[in-house]
């Protein structure tokens, strides 16, 4: 089967075949890997590739397409889609927008908002202060742009992943 795996915005084509149960041939970037794969318990893998042993932790999103992977202290966020489905999805999907959604990294209380709608912001600029876990935490812009909609309100609690505001492309 052929998959398209997206890693940091880069798409990679990967082909997988089963040789025996637990043993797979994988084609990636012009190379062929023979992978001895063992799922010790759900989402905890032991991989042996060319003698090297790897302990790999995986988390799969409910949709089954987003994978969080941890290997020896490094974390990867990957999207995996079957090639055929990907092609189909492309036809249907709209062009990606350049806007940046700022979401709450945790539940807490918005205690101060430092920007207004329409205001231009720089990367790293503090947009608002979130109080959580007994501390004041700065929410910063990650890209330059202009504040679009501002959903957060001072003194109003937010949950993890709530939309706080949108930074629209500056032009």
């Amino acid at each position: 089967m052929a998959y398209i795996v997206t890693c940091k915005g880069e798409e990679r084509n990967i082909g997988v075949e089963e040789r025996h149960p637990g043993l797979y041939t994988v084609h990636l970037g012009g190379k062929e890997y023979l992978v001895d794969y063992h799922e010790s318990r759900d989402n905890l893998l032991s991989l042996i590739i060319d003698g090297k042993s790897y302990e790999v932790d995986i988390e799969v999103s409910e949709s089954g397409e987003m994978y969080g992977v941890d290997i020896q202290g490094d974390h990867f966020e990957l999207e995996v889609v079957e090639e055929k489905k990907k092609k189909l999805a492309r036809k249907l999907s709209a062009a990606p927008s350049g806007r940046q959604e700022i979401r709450s990294p945790m539940s807490g209380n918005v205690c101060k908002i430092l920007v207004k709608q329409g205001q231009p912001v720089e990367p790293g600029q503090v947009l608002m202060i979130l109080e959580a876990m007994k501390m004041m935490n700065e929410i910063k812009a990650t890209v330059a742009g202009v504040i679009g909609s501002l959903k957060a309100k001072e003194g109003v609690p937010v949950a993890t992943n709530d939309l706080l505001c949108v930074v629209e492309p500056a032009e």
């Binding site: 994988v26 988390e59 992977v69 959580a132």
Partner: protein
């Protein structure tokens, strides 16, 4: 097994890892335990491991863990004759210790007078001064007004610190670099202090630049004996919160150890100290000058470091002392063996300025093997609530030398895995690789000055393995889906059996 039953039952007025630590000590002393919990902490580990557990109110600490009336009521109702406050919350509230005494319940900690005196930072400085212990230069009374501030500041010199008289935990503090900022920053410190501690009182002291933070563990009983357990080095700090500690300190030699120990004992004796406590000092690594900073009148967060190198169970000794038993050790019995390092595992994202993270611990593997101690409030499945300190666990590692201890800590951290939320584990790993830390050459400015924040764009050597892993995982999932789909048709019965399967317990 202990011939003497110390207490009938102990209530632990705390949560998380320190509550679990105290419950373990009680279990080893065969004393039944009572846990209390807020509505947000029903799933907390300390609730499950205690013998009894009672809900004491809603999530905010002011409505649960700080409610002295509710806690005393639970203690009385459940037949407790002692309360252990842990650290934080009510541990340094003299009024709570007094309330316990009035209700005939032993407060496992020092006497209320010692708590009150040391809780007033200016009073504590006066005690130290009276004992000829060197102080950080500065005021011995609280600051009156802005006019006085200008005058005192000129005497002390810049940079200087504005500090809350009743503050702790790094709150109500400001560094003043220039005279023109003084009035504004005094106002800021007063306002933060009022918000946090209900008092506007502040004082000024010199800002010691790039100091080492060294503290002395002291221990007293109700018979008037006081000993010290030597030092801990706590200079790896972020936002004045300790992140990594070790003992012994790389800059403390026998002479300095003796001086610091003696200074700490003089202060402790002056207030009739009768439990576990910590005298904090700032030390100049080059000149070995030291300055008393403040005293914490409770079991220290980092007490396991001292336990590891001295072989003493401070938490258990504290319970014994509270029961009126005399110390079972004298100063000459106390010595270091080997080296210990403690890493705080916090629910924080070290790559994003230690941003606290709440969430669910979806997976957990803790390290094992020789010299590794895991003091934790975590378990797989725990929802970390957003209402309290981000403190999840402490990893305490012992080895025969500092070099081996660093290697072992690195090994242990590499085995420690928390899935679902970000923690300070990767940060601690980087500290263990840092050449300045390895050389023992660091101070309280370490994280800002000598520590390279992770390069998010760095090479991740195992990216290909990650790609291979997810591709095979997806393949296997698709294969098993296909097999299942082939096996079903669209009758109601089978739809139901499909549901049954999803409800079935995974083994």
């Amino acid at each position: 097994m202990p011939a003497d039953k110390l207490f009938n039952k102990v209530l632990i007025a705390n949560r998380g890892e320190i509550a679990v630590r105290i419950i373990r000590a009680c279990q080893e002393l065969q004393i039944p335990t009572v846990a209390v919990y807020s509505e947000a902490d029903r799933a907390s580990l300390h609730v499950r491991v205690a013998d009894e557990a009672y809900c004491i109110g809603p999530a905010p600490a002011s409505r649960s863990y700080l409610r002295t009336d509710t806690i005393i009521e639970v203690a009385k109702r459940s037949g407790c004759d002692a309360v252990h406050p842990g650290y934080g919350f009510l541990s340094e509230t003299a009024a709570f210790a007094e309330l316990c005494a009035a209700e005939g319940i032993t407060f496992i900690g020092p006497n209320p007078d010692a708590i009150r005196t040391m809780g007033d930072k200016v009073a504590a400085r006066r005690v130290a001064a009276a004992q000829d212990v060197p102080l950080v230069p500065g005021m011995l009374e609280e600051l009156k007004d802005d006019g006085a501030a200008r005058q005192v500041a000129d005497t002390i010199g810049y940079p200087l610190m504005v500090k809350a008289v009743h503050g702790f935990g790094g709150k109500g503090m400001r560094v003043v670099e220039r005279p023109e900022d003084l009035a504004r920053l005094v106002r800021a410190a007063r306002s933060e202090s009022f918000n946090c501690f209900g008092s506007r009182a502040v004082y000024l002291e010199r800002c010691i630049e790039s100091p080492r933070h060294i503290e002395i563990q002291i221990f007293g009983d109700k018979q008037g004996h006081v000993v010290h357990f030597m030092e801990r080095e706590c200079s790896i700090q972020h936002r004045r919160q300790k992140v990594i500690e070790e003992a012994p300190s790389t800059i403390v030699d026998e002479e300095l150890r003796g001086k610091l120990g003696e200074a700490a004992l003089r202060i402790a004796r002056a207030v009739g100290y009768d439990s576990a406590g910590t005298a904090e000092f700032l030390v100049n690594a080059a000149t070995k000058e030291f300055f008393f900073l403040e005293m914490n009148t409770r079991l220290a967060v980092e007490h396991p470091v001292t336990e590891a190198v001295t072989g003493t169970d401070l938490c258990k000794e504290m319970i014994r002392a509270a029961a009126g038993l005399p110390l079972c050790f004298q100063q000459q019995d106390i010595s270091f063996r080997g080296h210990a390092i403690e890493c705080h595992i916090h629910a924080e994202d070290p790559d994003h300025d230690f941003f606290p993270i709440a969430g669910r611990i979806a997976g957990l593997r803790t390290p094992g093997g020789p010299g590794v101690r895991d003091d934790s409030g975590m378990y797989e499945g725990l929802e970390v609530p957003p209402y309290y300190d981000p403190h999840l666990a402490k990893l305490v590692v012992w080895a025969s030398t500092r070099e081996r201890c660093i290697s072992r800590t690195r090994r242990a951290l590499s085995e420690y895995f928390v899935k679902g939320i970000k923690t300070t584990i990767p940060f601690c790993e980087r500290v263990m690789q840092n050449e300045h830390f390895i050389a023992g050459d660091y101070d309280t400015t370490f994280i800002d000055s000598r520590f390279v924040k992770e390069d998010a764009a760095r090479e991740k050597p195992h990216q290909e393995v990650a790609l291979l892993a997810v591709a095979i995982k997806a393949f296997r999932s698709d294969q098993s889906q296909t097999r299942k789909s082939a096996a079903i048709s669209d009758t109601t019965l089978q739809a139901e059996s499909g549901w049954k399967m999803s409800g079935r317990i995974k083994r």
